[in-house]
Amino acid sequence: MQVTKHSNGLLSIYFTAGYPTLDSTVTIAKALEEAGADFLEIGFPYSDPVADGPTIQHSSEEALKNGMTLALLFEQLKDLRQHVSIPVYLMGYFNPVLQYGVENFCKSCKEVGVNGSIIPDLPMYEYEELYQSIFEENGISNIFLVTPQTSESRIRKIDDLTTNFIYLLSSNAITGGNLEVKDQAEAYFKRIKDMDLKNPFIIGFGISNKETFGKATKYANGAIVGTAFVKLLAEENYLTKIPDFIKSIKG
């Protein structure tokens, strides 16, 4: 499976590595694939996640308490491709990547079969100046974000730098909000669709159920559910509830 311009109605799930337990990462990934998720974002935790709301921040704090680190995550993902075949992206903040070493990070991604990364606080300028060649040499796609405030010229530039898909934020907000598909949001989704970008785009932030998923995928190639799934992971026997969760969104 690849995320392409012809993809339709893809569902991606975000969850935080090392949450709810240190070794739950691959088990959850496997359960998600079996339940019908189309691709995955695995978050590596950071102590100061400014783009996240309380739910994902809490999962990061718990994961750090459990002992999760980027190095340990790559260790856990060593056998990823024996269990999981759908695309997997790592999502997190830049400082842990910087400390691990950007080149080491890209090499480790490649070794374990991770397709790309989403690092919200790594800006385009720094990416181009310092890191683009390292990502490209290792075949790792860096996914950029677009918000309702992003200018058209900047979106075009992001489209040029993108080697996989563009992550479209449903609104200018932190994670865990609710998508209110007002005329304004619809107009924004339509504006992006009409730009006829080279790359597919996936909508994230505020997608939590069938209704919001449906509205987002009317325009985008897919949508990402994060906070709603991380909430499920706090429940007892969460593994057995994953199939119903996916079904409740995809139908």
Binding site: Y46, D48, L70, D121, P123, L145, Q149, A173
Partner: protein, 394 residues
């Protein structure tokens, strides 16, 4: 162009930049494109200077502390930022930023605060200009600094406790950044220190540079020479130090000393001595020096002084440290408290515990007898009376 000032891309050597999520990009880009132009505008300058004079009470005195000088055997001057309206240097920056926010057409102001000094300074200028004000403050700091919380509320500000992480300055900053992400159009974020994404470190340093601009003039009057041998200031994020050093950076003969908070000691595990323990990293939008784990998780800082309780250091300071232009040292809680009491007894001035850290370093210095030393007395100690009372059983 000074090699110690920001370059056109927002960097000081390898430090600085704007490591922000896309959600903050339009806000930050607007500032990047406009701050220099607005600050150069004659009507802006006129109002800024007028308010600093009539409202803040500038120029702040440069006081020759004779008894302190006698004790250490040097000619020691205190730059009296403690005499500013609201009791610290923080107001220089908030006056500048509120005028800038007005020029940008913003209706709502947010800020983070540690000791509460920046929060008070922000609430003050919001009252002055009639703008809505929301201040994020660590829940623990709210307890430690009750009088400042009351001041902010009296001036009409909403004080929101930051309950995540260590519940101090760093977490208040995270909450303020989240607010800004959620309110991208009408809100200006008044960052209180020389931290954050470009252009904040440069913008705040420019607003605070009045400290060293005045000092040069005052020194010339008092000593016949514009430059001292040594300038000293305490550093948390580093705004009073940035202002105190600003106009001396290119005078390489002027020795620059920055004093960080060592808390219970540099190796105690309870410290905010960033340059001693930190490595290059990214926090709150800039590449800087950061106390962090091997995995890149930010280590919770500790200091008795809420204003120095920050795990990083502004990018310009990181560069002054790395390039060797500045000497970065630290003082413990105990050393700072003793220095605060010493100044009180010798000069009748109760300093903020933050400023006491700078004074504490005098104990470790050797003077020949004729050196001119300027220390930035960044704030007054009224807010710290509780701490002084507890510490000295007063």
């Amino acid at each position: 162009m000074s090699k110690y000032q920001v370059d056109s891309k927002g960097y000081y050597g390898p430090f600085g930049g704007a490591y922000i999520p896309e959600m903050l990009y339009p806000n930050v880009e607007e500032l990047q494109n406009q701050y220099l132009q607005i600050m150069d505008d004659p009507s802006f300058k006129e109002e800024f200077e007028q308010l600093l004079k009539d409202y803040v009470g500038r120029p702040s005195p440069l006081y020759h502390a004779k008894r302190l000088s006698d004790k250490y055997g040097a000619k020691i001057f205190l730059k009296r930022e403690d005499l500013n309206h609201t009791g610290a240097h923080k107001i220089n920056n908030t006056i500048g930023q509120i005028l800038l926010a007005q020029k940008l057409g913003k209706k709502r102001i947010i800020a983070e605060t540690g000791a509460g000094q920046h929060g008070v300074a922000t609430a003050t200028v919001c009252a002055l200009k009639g703008l809505e004000c929301v201040v994020y403050m660590g829940a623990i700091d709210i307890e430690r600094q009750a009088p400042n919380v009351a001041r902010m509320k009296m001036m009409g500000a909403t004080v929101v406790p930051a309950t995540s992480g260590s519940q101090t300055l760093k977490d208040a900053t995270n909450e303020a950044l989240r607010d800004w992400i959620n309110n991208p159009v009408d809100t200006h974020y008044i960052i209180g220190s020389v931290v954050g994404p470009h252009p904040y470190p440069d913008m705040v340093a420019r607003f605070q540079s009045i400290i060293s601009a005045e000092t040069r003039k005052q020194l010339l009057e008092k000593t016949g020479k514009e430059t001292p041998d040594i300038v000293m200031a305490c550093v948390g994020g580093g705004s009073n130090a940035a202002g105190m050093f600003y106009n001396f950076l290119d005078d390489e003969e002027v020795k620059i000393i920055a004093v960080e908070a060592a808390g219970h000691g540099v190796d105690s595990g309870e410290t905010a001595a960033t340059t001693a323990l930190g490595r290059e990293g990214v926090l709150h939008g800039s590449r800087q020096i950061l106390m962090q784990t091997e995995d890149g998780q930010v280590i919770e800082p500790y200091s008795i002084s809420a204003g120095l309780d920050y795990p990083g250091i502004g990018p310009q300071h990181a560069w002054l440290f790395k390039s060797g232009r500045g000497e970065y040292v630290s003082a413990t809680d105990d050393e700072a408290m003793q220095a605060g009491l010493r100044l009180t007894k010798l000069e009748g001035i109760i300093p903020a515990i933050e400023s006491s850290h700078a004074l504490a370093h005098l104990e470790k210095m050797k003077f020949k007898g004729d050196e001119t030393v300027v220390i930035c007395l960044s704030g007054r100690g009224d807010k710290d009376l509780d701490n002084y009372m507890k510490y000295f059983n007063l």
